[in-house]
Protein backbone atom coordinates (compact mmCIF):
# COMPACT_ATOMS: atom_id res chain seq x y z
CA UNK A 1 0.00 0.00 0.00
CA UNK A 2 1.30 3.46 -0.91
CA UNK A 3 1.20 6.23 1.66
CA UNK A 4 -1.79 8.45 1.05
CA UNK A 5 -1.07 12.03 -0.09
CA UNK A 6 -2.20 13.35 3.28
CA UNK A 7 0.28 11.12 5.09
CA UNK A 8 3.06 12.01 2.73
CA UNK A 9 2.43 15.69 3.35
CA UNK A 10 2.52 15.39 7.12
CA UNK A 11 5.73 13.45 6.92
CA UNK A 12 7.20 16.16 4.72
CA UNK A 13 6.13 18.81 7.18
CA UNK A 14 8.10 17.10 9.91
CA UNK A 15 11.36 17.02 8.05
CA UNK A 16 14.06 19.17 9.55
CA UNK A 17 14.85 22.45 7.88
CA UNK A 18 17.69 22.32 5.36
CA UNK A 19 20.15 24.06 7.66
CA UNK A 20 19.77 21.51 10.42
CA UNK A 21 22.36 18.76 10.64
CA UNK A 22 20.89 15.31 10.02
CA UNK A 23 21.99 12.32 12.10
CA UNK A 24 19.98 9.59 10.40
CA UNK A 25 18.82 9.98 6.85
CA UNK A 26 16.50 7.06 6.16
CA UNK A 27 14.70 6.46 2.90
CA UNK A 28 12.11 3.81 1.98
CA UNK A 29 13.22 1.54 4.75
CA UNK A 30 11.37 -1.78 5.13
CA UNK A 31 12.27 -4.73 7.34
CA UNK A 32 11.09 -8.34 7.46
CA UNK A 33 11.36 -11.05 10.10
CA UNK A 34 11.27 -14.06 7.79
CA UNK A 35 8.04 -13.64 5.83
CA UNK A 36 6.60 -11.16 8.30
CA UNK A 37 7.03 -7.49 7.46
CA UNK A 38 7.66 -5.42 10.58
CA UNK A 39 8.45 -2.03 8.99
CA UNK A 40 7.05 -0.60 5.79
CA UNK A 41 8.59 2.10 3.68
CA UNK A 42 9.81 4.36 6.46
CA UNK A 43 11.33 7.66 5.33
CA UNK A 44 12.59 9.95 8.07
CA UNK A 45 15.42 12.39 8.78
CA UNK A 46 16.41 12.37 12.43
CA UNK A 47 18.18 15.59 13.43
CA UNK A 48 21.58 15.64 15.13
CA UNK A 49 22.05 16.87 18.71
CA UNK A 50 18.35 16.65 19.40
CA UNK A 51 16.17 14.20 21.26
CA UNK A 52 13.81 12.29 18.98
CA UNK A 53 11.08 10.23 20.60
CA UNK A 54 9.55 7.19 18.91
CA UNK A 55 6.02 6.49 20.10
CA UNK A 56 3.31 4.09 19.07
CA UNK A 57 1.31 1.15 20.38
CA UNK A 58 3.01 -2.06 21.40
CA UNK A 59 4.16 -4.16 18.44
CA UNK A 60 4.15 -1.30 15.94
CA UNK A 61 7.87 -1.72 15.22
CA UNK A 62 9.53 0.84 17.51
CA UNK A 63 12.20 -1.53 18.80
CA UNK A 64 12.70 -3.00 15.35
CA UNK A 65 13.28 0.47 13.94
CA UNK A 66 15.70 1.40 16.72
CA UNK A 67 17.67 -1.83 16.45
CA UNK A 68 18.12 -1.35 12.72
CA UNK A 69 19.88 1.95 13.45
CA UNK A 70 22.95 0.20 14.89
CA UNK A 71 22.39 -3.14 13.20
CA UNK A 72 21.48 -4.92 16.45
CA UNK A 73 18.64 -6.60 14.57
CA UNK A 74 21.26 -8.69 12.79
CA UNK A 75 21.41 -10.81 15.95
CA UNK A 76 17.94 -12.07 15.04
CA UNK A 77 18.33 -14.70 12.35
CA UNK A 78 16.20 -14.41 9.24
CA UNK A 79 15.82 -10.62 9.11
CA UNK A 80 16.06 -8.78 5.82
CA UNK A 81 15.82 -5.12 4.98
CA UNK A 82 15.45 -2.76 2.06
CA UNK A 83 15.98 0.94 1.64
CA UNK A 84 18.75 3.34 2.48
CA UNK A 85 19.94 4.21 6.00
CA UNK A 86 22.66 6.79 6.45
CA UNK A 87 24.24 7.98 9.69
CA UNK A 88 25.98 11.35 9.26
CA UNK A 89 26.25 10.58 5.59
CA UNK A 90 27.72 7.11 5.96
CA UNK A 91 25.71 4.21 4.58
CA UNK A 92 25.03 1.93 7.57
CA UNK A 93 24.61 -1.05 5.29
CA UNK A 94 27.19 -0.16 2.65
CA UNK A 95 29.54 -2.84 1.35
CA UNK A 96 32.42 -3.43 3.73
CA UNK A 97 30.79 -1.46 6.55
CA UNK A 98 31.15 -3.44 9.77
CA UNK A 99 28.43 -3.60 12.38
CA UNK A 100 31.11 -3.44 15.10
CA UNK A 101 32.32 -0.06 13.80
CA UNK A 102 28.74 1.26 13.54
CA UNK A 103 27.93 0.28 17.10
CA UNK A 104 30.90 2.20 18.43
CA UNK A 105 29.36 5.33 16.94
CA UNK A 106 25.75 4.43 17.68
CA UNK A 107 25.36 3.17 21.24
CA UNK A 108 22.32 1.53 22.78
CA UNK A 109 20.64 1.45 26.18
CA UNK A 110 18.13 -1.30 26.79
CA UNK A 111 14.80 -1.57 28.53
CA UNK A 112 16.12 -3.71 31.33
CA UNK A 113 19.33 -2.46 32.88
CA UNK A 114 22.04 -5.03 32.27
CA UNK A 115 25.33 -4.20 34.01
CA UNK A 116 27.76 -7.11 33.71
CA UNK A 117 27.43 -9.12 36.91
CA UNK A 118 31.10 -10.09 37.09
CA UNK A 119 32.33 -6.51 36.96
CA UNK A 120 32.65 -3.61 39.36
CA UNK A 121 31.05 -0.25 38.68
CA UNK A 122 34.30 1.10 37.23
CA UNK A 123 34.91 -2.03 35.14
CA UNK A 124 31.40 -1.82 33.75
CA UNK A 125 31.93 1.74 32.59
CA UNK A 126 35.31 0.99 31.04
CA UNK A 127 34.67 -2.41 29.51
CA UNK A 128 33.92 -1.03 26.05
CA UNK A 129 37.15 0.97 25.98
CA UNK A 130 39.25 -1.85 27.37
CA UNK A 131 37.90 -4.36 24.88
CA UNK A 132 38.60 -1.90 22.10
CA UNK A 133 42.22 -1.76 23.12
CA UNK A 134 42.50 1.39 25.27
CA UNK A 135 45.23 0.73 27.86
CA UNK A 136 46.35 4.21 28.94
CA UNK A 137 45.49 4.54 32.64
CA UNK A 138 45.06 8.32 32.46
CA UNK A 139 42.65 8.08 29.54
CA UNK A 140 40.67 5.36 31.30
CA UNK A 141 40.47 7.32 34.55
CA UNK A 142 39.32 10.50 32.84
CA UNK A 143 36.74 8.65 30.73
CA UNK A 144 35.47 6.92 33.83
CA UNK A 145 34.84 10.20 35.62
CA UNK A 146 33.54 11.98 32.57
CA UNK A 147 31.08 9.22 31.68
CA UNK A 148 29.77 8.89 35.21
CA UNK A 149 29.36 12.67 35.42
CA UNK A 150 27.48 12.71 32.12
CA UNK A 151 25.24 9.93 33.39
CA UNK A 152 24.59 11.91 36.61
CA UNK A 153 25.90 9.04 38.67
CA UNK A 154 29.32 10.22 39.79
CA UNK A 155 28.31 11.70 43.13
CA UNK A 156 26.46 8.56 44.11
CA UNK A 157 29.19 6.06 43.23
CA UNK A 158 32.51 7.89 43.45
CA UNK A 159 33.36 6.19 46.74
CA UNK A 160 32.21 2.71 45.78
CA UNK A 161 33.68 2.33 42.30
CA UNK A 162 34.94 -1.15 43.11
CA UNK A 163 31.60 -2.50 44.28
CA UNK A 164 29.78 -4.80 41.84
CA UNK A 165 27.66 -2.98 39.28
CA UNK A 166 24.72 -5.15 40.27
CA UNK A 167 24.84 -3.82 43.84
CA UNK A 168 23.26 -0.53 42.71
CA UNK A 169 19.55 0.27 42.69
CA UNK A 170 17.54 -0.21 39.50
CA UNK A 171 17.69 3.44 38.50
CA UNK A 172 21.40 3.66 39.28
CA UNK A 173 22.02 0.50 37.26
CA UNK A 174 20.29 2.06 34.27
CA UNK A 175 22.40 5.19 34.61
CA UNK A 176 25.45 2.96 34.90
CA UNK A 177 24.46 1.40 31.58
CA UNK A 178 24.15 4.87 30.09
CA UNK A 179 27.62 5.73 31.40
CA UNK A 180 28.93 2.49 29.91
CA UNK A 181 27.52 3.47 26.51
CA UNK A 182 28.87 7.02 26.74
CA UNK A 183 32.37 5.86 27.68
CA UNK A 184 33.08 4.67 24.14
CA UNK A 185 32.16 8.18 22.94
CA UNK A 186 29.40 7.44 20.47
CA UNK A 187 27.83 10.20 18.41
CA UNK A 188 24.35 8.84 18.87
CA UNK A 189 22.62 7.09 21.73
CA UNK A 190 19.62 4.84 21.14
CA UNK A 191 17.38 4.11 24.11
CA UNK A 192 14.67 1.47 24.04
CA UNK A 193 12.14 2.25 26.78
CA UNK A 194 14.94 2.96 29.25
CA UNK A 195 12.58 3.89 32.08
CA UNK A 196 9.84 1.34 31.74
CA UNK A 197 11.20 -0.77 34.59
CA UNK A 198 11.91 2.21 36.89
CA UNK A 199 9.97 4.06 39.56
CA UNK A 200 8.93 7.69 38.97
CA UNK A 201 11.87 9.19 40.84
CA UNK A 202 14.44 7.19 38.94
CA UNK A 203 12.57 7.99 35.72
CA UNK A 204 12.73 11.72 36.48
CA UNK A 205 16.50 11.44 36.96
CA UNK A 206 16.96 9.76 33.61
CA UNK A 207 14.74 12.27 31.85
CA UNK A 208 16.78 15.07 33.35
CA UNK A 209 19.92 13.32 32.18
CA UNK A 210 18.55 13.04 28.63
CA UNK A 211 18.16 16.82 28.61
CA UNK A 212 21.87 17.28 29.27
CA UNK A 213 22.84 14.59 26.76
CA UNK A 214 21.31 16.49 23.86
CA UNK A 215 24.07 19.09 24.11
CA UNK A 216 26.62 16.56 22.91
CA UNK A 217 24.75 13.60 21.49
CA UNK A 218 21.95 12.70 19.17
CA UNK A 219 19.40 10.78 21.22
CA UNK A 220 16.67 8.54 19.84
CA UNK A 221 14.39 7.23 22.56
CA UNK A 222 11.58 4.72 22.26
CA UNK A 223 8.91 5.21 24.86
CA UNK A 224 5.40 3.99 25.47
CA UNK A 225 4.95 6.83 27.91
CA UNK A 226 3.55 9.83 26.04
CA UNK A 227 4.15 12.26 28.89
CA UNK A 228 7.77 11.24 28.73
CA UNK A 229 7.93 11.89 25.00
CA UNK A 230 6.24 15.24 25.50
CA UNK A 231 8.54 16.19 28.38
CA UNK A 232 11.93 15.29 27.05
CA UNK A 233 11.97 15.20 23.26
CA UNK A 234 12.36 17.81 20.54
CA UNK A 235 10.89 15.68 17.77
CA UNK A 236 8.38 12.89 17.92
CA UNK A 237 7.76 10.12 15.42
CA UNK A 238 4.53 8.18 15.65
CA UNK A 239 4.61 4.62 14.33
CA UNK A 240 1.58 2.48 13.74
CA UNK A 241 1.45 -1.04 12.28
CA UNK A 242 4.99 -0.83 10.98
CA UNK A 243 4.56 2.56 9.29
CA UNK A 244 5.74 6.00 10.19
CA UNK A 245 2.46 7.88 10.44
CA UNK A 246 3.67 11.28 11.49
CA UNK A 247 6.93 12.99 12.38
CA UNK A 248 7.37 16.52 13.57
CA UNK A 249 8.10 18.89 16.40
CA UNK A 250 7.02 17.30 19.66
CA UNK A 251 4.81 20.24 20.54
CA UNK A 252 2.95 20.01 17.23
CA UNK A 253 2.51 16.25 17.49
CA UNK A 254 0.95 16.56 20.92
CA UNK A 255 -1.11 19.73 20.45
CA UNK A 256 -2.07 19.82 16.79
CA UNK A 257 -1.29 16.53 15.05
CA UNK A 258 -2.23 16.56 11.41
CA UNK A 259 -3.07 12.87 11.18
CA UNK A 260 -6.26 11.56 12.84
CA UNK A 261 -4.51 8.34 13.93
CA UNK A 262 -1.82 10.35 15.68
CA UNK A 263 -4.47 12.44 17.30
CA UNK A 264 -6.33 9.38 18.52
CA UNK A 265 -3.14 7.89 19.93
CA UNK A 266 -1.75 10.93 21.71
CA UNK A 267 -5.13 11.74 23.20
CA UNK A 268 -5.17 8.23 24.64
CA UNK A 269 -8.05 6.86 22.62
CA UNK A 270 -6.13 3.74 21.62
CA UNK A 271 -2.84 1.96 22.14
Amino acid sequence: MKASPAQARTVEAGLPAEAEEVAFDIKNFSLWYGQRQALQDVTIRIPAKKVTAIIGPSGCGKSTFLRALNRMHELTPGTRLEGSLRHFGEDLYGPGVEAVAIRRRVGMVFQKSNPFPTMSIAENVLVGLRLNGVRDKRVLQSRLEESLHMAALWDEVKDVLNRPGTSLSGGQQQRLCIARSLAVQPETLLMDEPCSALDPLATAKIEELIQTLRERYTVVIVTHNMQQAARCSDRTAFFYLGRLIEFGNTRNIFTSPSNPQTEAYVSGRFG
Binding site: N70, M72, L75, A99, V100, A101, I102, R103, R104, R105, G107, M108, F110, K112, N114, F116, P117, T118, V127, G128, L131, N132, C177, R180, S181, V184
Partner: protein, 289 residues
Protein backbone atom coordinates in the same frame (compact mmCIF):
# COMPACT_ATOMS: atom_id res chain seq x y z
CA UNK B 1 -26.85 -35.82 65.60
CA UNK B 2 -26.67 -37.59 62.25
CA UNK B 3 -23.34 -38.39 60.67
CA UNK B 4 -22.52 -36.45 57.54
CA UNK B 5 -22.57 -38.78 54.53
CA UNK B 6 -19.27 -37.27 53.42
CA UNK B 7 -17.35 -38.29 56.53
CA UNK B 8 -15.72 -41.71 56.24
CA UNK B 9 -16.64 -44.42 58.67
CA UNK B 10 -14.06 -45.00 61.42
CA UNK B 11 -13.01 -48.36 59.93
CA UNK B 12 -12.47 -46.80 56.55
CA UNK B 13 -10.42 -43.98 58.03
CA UNK B 14 -8.20 -46.46 59.82
CA UNK B 15 -7.68 -48.49 56.63
CA UNK B 16 -6.76 -45.37 54.74
CA UNK B 17 -4.26 -44.33 57.38
CA UNK B 18 -2.70 -47.77 57.27
CA UNK B 19 -2.34 -47.58 53.51
CA UNK B 20 -0.82 -44.15 53.76
CA UNK B 21 1.79 -45.17 56.30
CA UNK B 22 2.58 -48.31 54.30
CA UNK B 23 3.33 -46.24 51.22
CA UNK B 24 5.38 -43.78 53.24
CA UNK B 25 7.30 -46.68 54.70
CA UNK B 26 8.10 -48.11 51.27
CA UNK B 27 9.30 -44.74 50.05
CA UNK B 28 11.53 -44.22 53.06
CA UNK B 29 12.95 -47.71 52.57
CA UNK B 30 13.73 -46.93 48.93
CA UNK B 31 15.40 -43.67 49.88
CA UNK B 32 17.51 -45.54 52.42
CA UNK B 33 18.36 -48.16 49.82
CA UNK B 34 19.72 -45.38 47.63
CA UNK B 35 22.07 -43.93 50.23
CA UNK B 36 22.88 -47.15 52.08
CA UNK B 37 25.50 -48.29 49.53
CA UNK B 38 27.38 -45.04 50.01
CA UNK B 39 27.54 -45.63 53.73
CA UNK B 40 28.52 -49.26 53.15
CA UNK B 41 31.37 -48.17 50.90
CA UNK B 42 32.57 -45.59 53.37
CA UNK B 43 32.17 -48.01 56.27
CA UNK B 44 34.23 -50.78 54.64
CA UNK B 45 36.90 -48.41 53.41
CA UNK B 46 37.29 -46.91 56.87
CA UNK B 47 37.20 -50.24 58.62
CA UNK B 48 39.68 -51.97 56.31
CA UNK B 49 41.80 -49.06 55.19
CA UNK B 50 41.95 -46.46 57.91
CA UNK B 51 44.34 -48.38 60.14
CA UNK B 52 46.85 -48.61 57.29
CA UNK B 53 46.85 -44.90 56.63
CA UNK B 54 50.11 -43.97 58.23
CA UNK B 55 52.84 -41.53 57.37
CA UNK B 56 54.65 -44.21 55.36
CA UNK B 57 51.66 -44.75 53.14
CA UNK B 58 51.88 -41.18 51.91
CA UNK B 59 55.68 -40.88 51.79
CA UNK B 60 57.14 -44.22 50.76
CA UNK B 61 57.42 -46.18 47.56
CA UNK B 62 56.01 -49.69 47.35
CA UNK B 63 58.34 -52.27 48.87
CA UNK B 64 59.64 -55.11 46.69
CA UNK B 65 57.50 -58.22 46.53
CA UNK B 66 57.42 -60.10 49.80
CA UNK B 67 58.66 -57.25 51.98
CA UNK B 68 56.25 -55.73 54.47
CA UNK B 69 55.62 -51.97 54.67
CA UNK B 70 56.10 -49.21 52.12
CA UNK B 71 53.47 -46.91 50.73
CA UNK B 72 51.80 -45.46 47.70
CA UNK B 73 53.45 -42.07 47.49
CA UNK B 74 54.27 -42.52 43.80
CA UNK B 75 50.73 -43.64 42.98
CA UNK B 76 49.20 -40.63 44.72
CA UNK B 77 51.51 -38.23 42.90
CA UNK B 78 50.98 -40.19 39.68
CA UNK B 79 47.22 -39.83 39.94
CA UNK B 80 47.56 -36.10 40.49
CA UNK B 81 49.90 -35.84 37.49
CA UNK B 82 47.55 -37.87 35.29
CA UNK B 83 44.52 -35.81 36.31
CA UNK B 84 46.44 -32.61 35.62
CA UNK B 85 47.47 -33.89 32.20
CA UNK B 86 43.93 -35.01 31.43
CA UNK B 87 42.75 -31.50 32.33
CA UNK B 88 45.36 -29.90 30.09
CA UNK B 89 44.54 -32.19 27.15
CA UNK B 90 40.80 -32.54 27.57
CA UNK B 91 39.41 -29.35 29.06
CA UNK B 92 40.36 -26.89 26.29
CA UNK B 93 38.66 -29.06 23.66
CA UNK B 94 35.65 -29.50 25.91
CA UNK B 95 35.33 -25.79 26.63
CA UNK B 96 35.88 -24.67 23.04
CA UNK B 97 33.45 -27.31 21.85
CA UNK B 98 30.87 -26.09 24.36
CA UNK B 99 31.42 -22.49 23.26
CA UNK B 100 30.95 -23.54 19.65
CA UNK B 101 27.70 -25.34 20.47
CA UNK B 102 26.30 -22.48 22.54
CA UNK B 103 27.46 -19.50 20.49
CA UNK B 104 28.22 -20.46 16.92
CA UNK B 105 27.07 -23.74 15.39
CA UNK B 106 23.96 -24.15 13.29
CA UNK B 107 21.07 -26.15 14.67
CA UNK B 108 21.79 -29.03 12.35
CA UNK B 109 25.51 -29.23 13.03
CA UNK B 110 24.85 -28.88 16.75
CA UNK B 111 22.45 -31.79 16.74
CA UNK B 112 25.09 -34.04 15.26
CA UNK B 113 27.79 -32.81 17.62
CA UNK B 114 25.55 -33.33 20.65
CA UNK B 115 24.68 -36.80 19.45
CA UNK B 116 28.36 -37.60 18.98
CA UNK B 117 29.15 -36.27 22.44
CA UNK B 118 26.43 -38.42 23.98
CA UNK B 119 27.74 -41.52 22.21
CA UNK B 120 31.29 -40.68 23.33
CA UNK B 121 30.02 -40.36 26.89
CA UNK B 122 28.82 -43.94 26.63
CA UNK B 123 32.02 -45.40 25.18
CA UNK B 124 33.31 -47.95 27.74
CA UNK B 125 36.43 -46.67 29.41
CA UNK B 126 38.44 -49.74 28.45
CA UNK B 127 37.76 -48.91 24.82
CA UNK B 128 39.36 -45.50 25.33
CA UNK B 129 42.38 -47.31 26.72
CA UNK B 130 42.62 -49.56 23.67
CA UNK B 131 42.21 -46.70 21.22
CA UNK B 132 44.94 -44.65 22.86
CA UNK B 133 47.11 -47.76 23.01
CA UNK B 134 46.90 -47.95 19.23
CA UNK B 135 47.27 -44.20 18.76
CA UNK B 136 50.14 -43.45 21.14
CA UNK B 137 51.59 -46.52 22.81
CA UNK B 138 52.26 -48.58 19.68
CA UNK B 139 53.69 -45.76 17.51
CA UNK B 140 55.92 -44.39 20.28
CA UNK B 141 56.93 -47.87 21.37
CA UNK B 142 56.06 -47.68 25.01
CA UNK B 143 53.56 -47.05 27.76
CA UNK B 144 53.70 -43.49 29.05
CA UNK B 145 52.15 -40.92 31.33
CA UNK B 146 51.27 -38.98 28.18
CA UNK B 147 49.18 -41.84 26.87
CA UNK B 148 47.39 -42.15 30.21
CA UNK B 149 46.72 -38.43 30.34
CA UNK B 150 45.37 -38.45 26.80
CA UNK B 151 43.08 -41.41 27.51
CA UNK B 152 41.62 -39.70 30.59
CA UNK B 153 41.52 -36.34 28.78
CA UNK B 154 39.51 -37.83 25.92
CA UNK B 155 36.98 -39.08 28.44
CA UNK B 156 36.64 -35.57 29.85
CA UNK B 157 35.95 -33.88 26.51
CA UNK B 158 32.29 -34.80 26.01
CA UNK B 159 31.47 -34.25 29.69
CA UNK B 160 33.04 -30.80 29.79
CA UNK B 161 31.57 -29.88 26.43
CA UNK B 162 28.01 -30.57 27.41
CA UNK B 163 28.18 -28.84 30.80
CA UNK B 164 29.93 -25.84 29.23
CA UNK B 165 27.21 -25.56 26.61
CA UNK B 166 24.51 -25.77 29.26
CA UNK B 167 25.92 -23.02 31.47
CA UNK B 168 26.69 -20.73 28.52
CA UNK B 169 23.12 -20.97 27.30
CA UNK B 170 21.99 -19.86 30.76
CA UNK B 171 23.84 -16.54 30.41
CA UNK B 172 21.11 -14.01 29.58
CA UNK B 173 21.01 -12.75 26.01
CA UNK B 174 20.85 -9.19 27.35
CA UNK B 175 24.54 -9.35 28.37
CA UNK B 176 25.54 -10.39 24.88
CA UNK B 177 23.52 -7.55 23.38
CA UNK B 178 24.90 -5.01 25.84
CA UNK B 179 28.47 -5.96 24.93
CA UNK B 180 27.85 -5.98 21.19
CA UNK B 181 26.14 -2.59 21.43
CA UNK B 182 29.44 -1.20 22.74
CA UNK B 183 31.05 -2.10 19.44
CA UNK B 184 32.88 -5.06 20.93
CA UNK B 185 33.86 -7.84 18.51
CA UNK B 186 31.85 -11.00 18.90
CA UNK B 187 34.67 -13.28 20.02
CA UNK B 188 35.76 -10.78 22.67
CA UNK B 189 32.19 -10.52 23.88
CA UNK B 190 32.04 -14.30 24.18
CA UNK B 191 35.32 -14.59 26.08
CA UNK B 192 35.08 -11.58 28.36
CA UNK B 193 31.34 -11.43 29.00
CA UNK B 194 29.71 -14.80 28.38
CA UNK B 195 32.47 -17.18 29.44
CA UNK B 196 33.44 -15.01 32.38
CA UNK B 197 29.86 -14.84 33.59
CA UNK B 198 29.59 -18.62 33.35
CA UNK B 199 33.07 -19.36 34.66
CA UNK B 200 31.94 -20.95 37.90
CA UNK B 201 29.56 -23.21 36.06
CA UNK B 202 32.32 -24.23 33.65
CA UNK B 203 34.69 -24.91 36.56
CA UNK B 204 31.97 -27.01 38.17
CA UNK B 205 31.68 -29.04 34.97
CA UNK B 206 35.43 -29.61 34.88
CA UNK B 207 35.47 -30.81 38.48
CA UNK B 208 32.52 -33.13 37.88
CA UNK B 209 34.41 -34.60 34.93
CA UNK B 210 37.55 -34.97 37.09
CA UNK B 211 35.55 -36.78 39.74
CA UNK B 212 34.22 -39.10 37.06
CA UNK B 213 37.67 -40.07 35.72
CA UNK B 214 39.70 -39.95 38.94
CA UNK B 215 38.95 -43.57 39.73
CA UNK B 216 39.20 -44.95 36.19
CA UNK B 217 41.46 -47.98 35.96
CA UNK B 218 40.70 -49.54 32.60
CA UNK B 219 41.92 -46.70 30.35
CA UNK B 220 45.20 -46.63 32.26
CA UNK B 221 45.92 -50.35 31.97
CA UNK B 222 46.94 -50.03 28.32
CA UNK B 223 48.44 -46.57 28.55
CA UNK B 224 50.06 -45.44 31.81
CA UNK B 225 50.57 -49.07 32.79
CA UNK B 226 51.74 -48.39 36.35
CA UNK B 227 55.14 -48.12 37.95
CA UNK B 228 56.55 -49.22 41.27
CA UNK B 229 59.06 -46.38 41.31
CA UNK B 230 58.94 -42.64 40.88
CA UNK B 231 58.62 -41.75 37.24
CA UNK B 232 60.80 -38.83 36.30
CA UNK B 233 59.77 -38.65 32.69
CA UNK B 234 56.28 -38.30 31.25
CA UNK B 235 57.37 -40.55 28.39
CA UNK B 236 57.66 -43.45 30.83
CA UNK B 237 54.99 -45.50 32.54
CA UNK B 238 53.55 -43.83 35.62
CA UNK B 239 51.76 -45.19 38.64
CA UNK B 240 48.22 -44.21 39.61
CA UNK B 241 46.10 -45.00 42.64
CA UNK B 242 43.53 -47.13 40.79
CA UNK B 243 46.29 -49.11 39.06
CA UNK B 244 48.11 -49.71 42.30
CA UNK B 245 44.90 -50.76 44.03
CA UNK B 246 44.19 -53.12 41.17
CA UNK B 247 47.66 -54.66 41.30
CA UNK B 248 47.74 -54.97 45.08
CA UNK B 249 44.19 -56.21 45.35
CA UNK B 250 44.94 -59.11 42.97
CA UNK B 251 48.12 -60.04 44.81
CA UNK B 252 48.28 -62.93 47.27
CA UNK B 253 49.84 -60.87 50.09
CA UNK B 254 47.90 -59.67 53.14
CA UNK B 255 50.07 -56.61 53.50
CA UNK B 256 49.28 -55.57 49.96
CA UNK B 257 45.55 -56.14 50.49
CA UNK B 258 45.80 -53.86 53.51
CA UNK B 259 47.41 -51.17 51.38
CA UNK B 260 44.90 -51.62 48.58
CA UNK B 261 42.14 -50.77 51.05
CA UNK B 262 44.05 -47.74 52.22
CA UNK B 263 44.52 -46.66 48.60
CA UNK B 264 40.82 -47.08 47.91
CA UNK B 265 40.06 -44.97 50.96
CA UNK B 266 42.33 -42.18 49.71
CA UNK B 267 40.80 -42.35 46.24
CA UNK B 268 37.30 -42.20 47.66
CA UNK B 269 38.27 -39.25 49.86
CA UNK B 270 39.58 -37.44 46.77
CA UNK B 271 36.33 -38.01 44.94
CA UNK B 272 34.25 -36.84 47.89
CA UNK B 273 36.39 -33.70 48.13
CA UNK B 274 35.80 -33.02 44.43
CA UNK B 275 32.05 -33.45 44.86
CA UNK B 276 31.96 -31.20 47.90
CA UNK B 277 33.83 -28.55 45.89
CA UNK B 278 31.15 -28.81 43.22
CA UNK B 279 28.46 -28.31 45.85
CA UNK B 280 30.17 -25.27 47.29
CA UNK B 281 30.70 -23.74 43.85
CA UNK B 282 27.08 -24.28 42.80
CA UNK B 283 25.79 -22.91 46.06
CA UNK B 284 27.78 -19.70 45.55
CA UNK B 285 26.40 -19.45 42.05
CA UNK B 286 22.76 -19.66 43.09
CA UNK B 287 23.42 -17.08 45.79
CA UNK B 288 24.85 -14.41 43.51
CA UNK B 289 22.24 -14.85 40.77
Amino acid sequence: MTESPYLPTPQFARWRKAKSSAVTGILVACALAVIAPLFLVIYFLLEKGFSSLDWNFFTQLPKPTGEVGGGMANAIVGSVVLLAMATVFGVPFGIFGGIYLAEYGSDRANNWIRFAADVLNGVPSIVWGMVVYLLLVVPFKGFSAYAGGVALGLMMVPLVMRTTEEVLILVPQSYREAALALGVARWKMIVVIVVRTALKGIATGVIIALARIAGETAPLLFTALGNTFWSHNLKEPISALPLQIFAYGLSPYDDWHRQAWAGALVLMALIIVLNVTVRVLSRDRSKTD
